[in-house]
């Protein structure tokens, strides 16, 4: 369990982390998301005492990192890929850290095997590729077999096999009851790996919820209604606060209303319903929506892609979309379903039964 309390960290005039408070619970993988420069790395470095916040405190299992009697046995961290001397052999690097933490030498061989670096253990770490460097960093984090893991973009530079391996590793670690906090920019990867997410932007907390909840409340989520008498329900849907767009194949897409409400309205209007499907936004869409105003560094052109979204709620945890800004939502560049859902998303996060992607999603692959 990690507790971050009112942490503020400034670098000169720049406030990297701004009054940030959150908890990270054991037993699940928690994704730590935010645009470039949002303060993720700074926060992670604060947790392990490498960076000292001006205000606030951080504890790991109730104790400040600095005061942990055996830190590597309590927290394992991968902060930057290359936290080693390039001239030192991988095995010697791990040995030095093991000795500093009173970890037996055989554990070095164990973690080398675990990350697949046994054969490269005699090589100087400076000759490692980015992916190998990440593996060495993960080996370092696992050295003390800690109940808390902090991983800053662990899949950065890994090959597909490596990404799959890290995903399974993190889930296995969480399933054992460990606390796993992992930052990433790969939303599709996070959707597969994490159960819970903490989203920050410009150093502030934007969202702290399950992925499920985040995605459901995103304005990208909508309901597809297929009926031969669309004209009869349209005004009622709009009157109820829904925003309606024509979908493919004669269906209509309603945002701002739950499937239940749409179904009730259709019933009241006495129109036949051929299909009523909840279309979840992807985590990526939900993320973009949450962070678009908080993003510091945005390429030219991405502004255009987000056109019409300026009025979206962007601060405060988890904006609810109860029609707060319906007009703005008409600007979606393309019908959402056309973008397709990340293939793996149906698998949800294994080992997290409560997650369960809504049944409606299954209907998607059908009629389109």
């Amino acid at each position: 369990m990690i507790q971050v309390r009112n942490v503020t960290k400034r670098f000169g005039a720049k406030t990297a982390v701004n009054n940030l408070t959150f908890d990270v619970q054991p037993g699940v993988v928690t994704g730590f998301l935010g645009p470039n420069g949002a303060g993720k790395t700074t926060t992670l470095r604060t947790i392990v005492g490498l960076v000292r916040p001006e205000v606030g405190s951080v504890t790991v299992n109730g104790t400040k990192y600095h005061d942990l009697p055996a830190p590597m046995h309590e927290v394992g961290a991968l902060l930057e890929a290359k936290a080693y001397h390039p001239g030192r052999r991988a095995r010697d690097h791990l040995l030095a850290l093991a000795q500093a933490s009173r970890i037996p030498r055989r554990r070095v061989e164990e973690v080398l095997g675990l990350v697949g670096l046994s054969d490269a253990a005699k090589r100087k770490a400076g000759t490692f590729s980015l992916g190998m460097a990440q593996r060495l960093g993960i080996a370092t984090a696992l050295l003390g077999d800690p109940p808390v893991l902090l991983l800053d973009e662990p899949v950065n530079g890994l090959d597909p096999e490596g990404i799959l391996w890290v995903r399974k590793l993190m889930q296995a670690l969480a399933a054992e009851g460990r606390t796993v906090l992992v930052s990433s920019h790969l939303m599709s990867e996070m959707a597969l790996t994490a159960t819970h997410v903490i989203v920050i932007g410009r150093g502030r907390l934007i969202a702290d919820s399950t992925i499920d909840e985040l995605v459901r409340t995103s304005s990208g989520s909508r309901v597809r209604l297929r009926t031969p008498m669309a004209d009869a329900v349209l005004p009622r849907l709009q009157a109820a606060g829904g925003t309606v767009q024509p979908g493919d194949d004669g269906a209509i897409l309603v945002s701002g209303l739950e499937p239940k409400a749409v179904g009730d309205i259709a019933f009241e209007a006495q129109v036949p319903v051929y299909e009523l499907t909840r279309l979840e936004a992807s985590l990526e869409q939900a993320f973009m929506e949450l962070t678009q105003e908080e993003s510091e560094f945005r390429g030219q052109g991405s502004e255009g892609a987000q056109e019409g979204h300026g009025a979206l709620p962007s601060s405060g945890p988890l904006p609810s979309n109860g029609g707060e800004a319906p007009a703005a939502q008409q600007g979606w560049p393309a019908p959402v379903p056309a973008q397709g859902w990340p293939a793996g998303q149906q698998g949800g996060a294994p080992g997290a039964p409560s997650q369960g992607w809504p049944a409606g999603q299954q209907g998607w692959s059908g009629p389109a």
């Binding site: 470095r45 000292r52 902060l79 001397h85 009173r102």
Partner: protein, 279 residues
């Protein structure tokens, strides 16, 4: 790739397992720092080159002094000084080694791993300084004896010149003292490296302390220069190698104390800054 959970211990309730964790102490930090020192080839290469250059250069200068007649007089008045004439270079090399011991961790990113394993930063600095001192102390101890006997051999080939015996007045002190002064020089580099956190900056500062500032002092009027020069730490420390007391200089042990005090102050400053700053 092996199965992910293979080498993991299984469920570990955070608080429950804490009691069973072995708590690392200073000896563990020392062991770790020794491993770091011995597993970098650059350390060994630097030490080997230093030994070779210092002994070689000293021998060359000694030989040049006695084989060319008008330099001979110096060899007569201060034969030990002539034998040890290559050590200015050695001190600089040890300072650089001291700088590198810390700055290579900052420039590579290793420092993060180090402080994750041992968040008590003063302990890390103390262990690093201890390992550096032992290594430089032992290497320079061997070097200084080899250097003395090589110089001795060169001088004895020229019977016209006095040949200092180890048992003669203050000669052993000068020979042994070289190891102590070298160690203190390495610690100057170490502390400056920790303060500056930058290899180039640390080396520049070391050169300044050892060579440049003493040279600048030459520009001062004598009335100012003498007292400053007397107490300037690296000048004062080098009195330990003087067989006879120099004019306008501290005695051997007061001078060494002066240097040691300077080192201690630098180390305290380094410890303060390293603990205060973000890593």
């Amino acid at each position: 790739m092996s199965a992910p959970a293979h080498a993991l211990s299984g469920p570990s309730g955070a608080a429950a397992s804490r009691a069973a964790n072995p708590v690392p102490v200073m000896t563990d930090t020392l062991r770790s720092e020794w491993t770091k020192m011995r597993t970098l080839r650059s350390t060994k290469v630097t030490l080997a080159i230093t030994a070779f250059l210092v002994i070689g250069l000293s021998a060359l200068i000694t030989w040049a002094s006695v084989s060319s007649p008008h330099h001979g007089t110096q060899a007569i008045t201060n034969p030990v000084g002539v034998i040890q004439s290559g050590w200015g270079l050695g001190w600089l090399a040890f300072e650089v080694l001291g700088v590198l011991v810390v700055t290579n961790e900052y420039s590579s990113g290793m420092i993060a791993s180090t402080f994750l394993a041992t968040p008590k930063r003063v302990r890390v600095l103390a262990a690093k300084a201890a390992v550096l001192s032992v290594v430089v102390g032992l290497v320079s101890l061997v070097m200084t004896f080899v250097n003395f006997y090589v110089g001795h051999a060169v001088l004895s080939a020229y019977p016209a010149f006095p040949d200092p015996a180890l048992g003669a007045n203050n000669v052993l002190r000068a020979v042994l003292g070289m190891a102590l002064t070298s160690t203190l020089m390495a610690l100057i580099g170490f502390a400056l490296g920790a303060i500056v956190r930058h290899t180039a900056g640390g080396i520049t500062a070391s050169v300044a302390v050892l060579f440049v500032l003493p040279l600048v002092l030459q520009a001062l009027p004598t009335s100012w220069r003498n007292p400053v020069e007397e107490y300037w730490p690296t000048q004062a420390g080098s009195q330990l190698e003087q067989v006879t007391r120099q004019a306008h200089a501290l005695t051997a042990w007061w001078g060494t104390g002066d240097l040691a005090l300077f080192v201690a102050l630098l180390l305290v400053a380094a410890g303060y800054l390293v603990t205060r700053r973000d890593a």
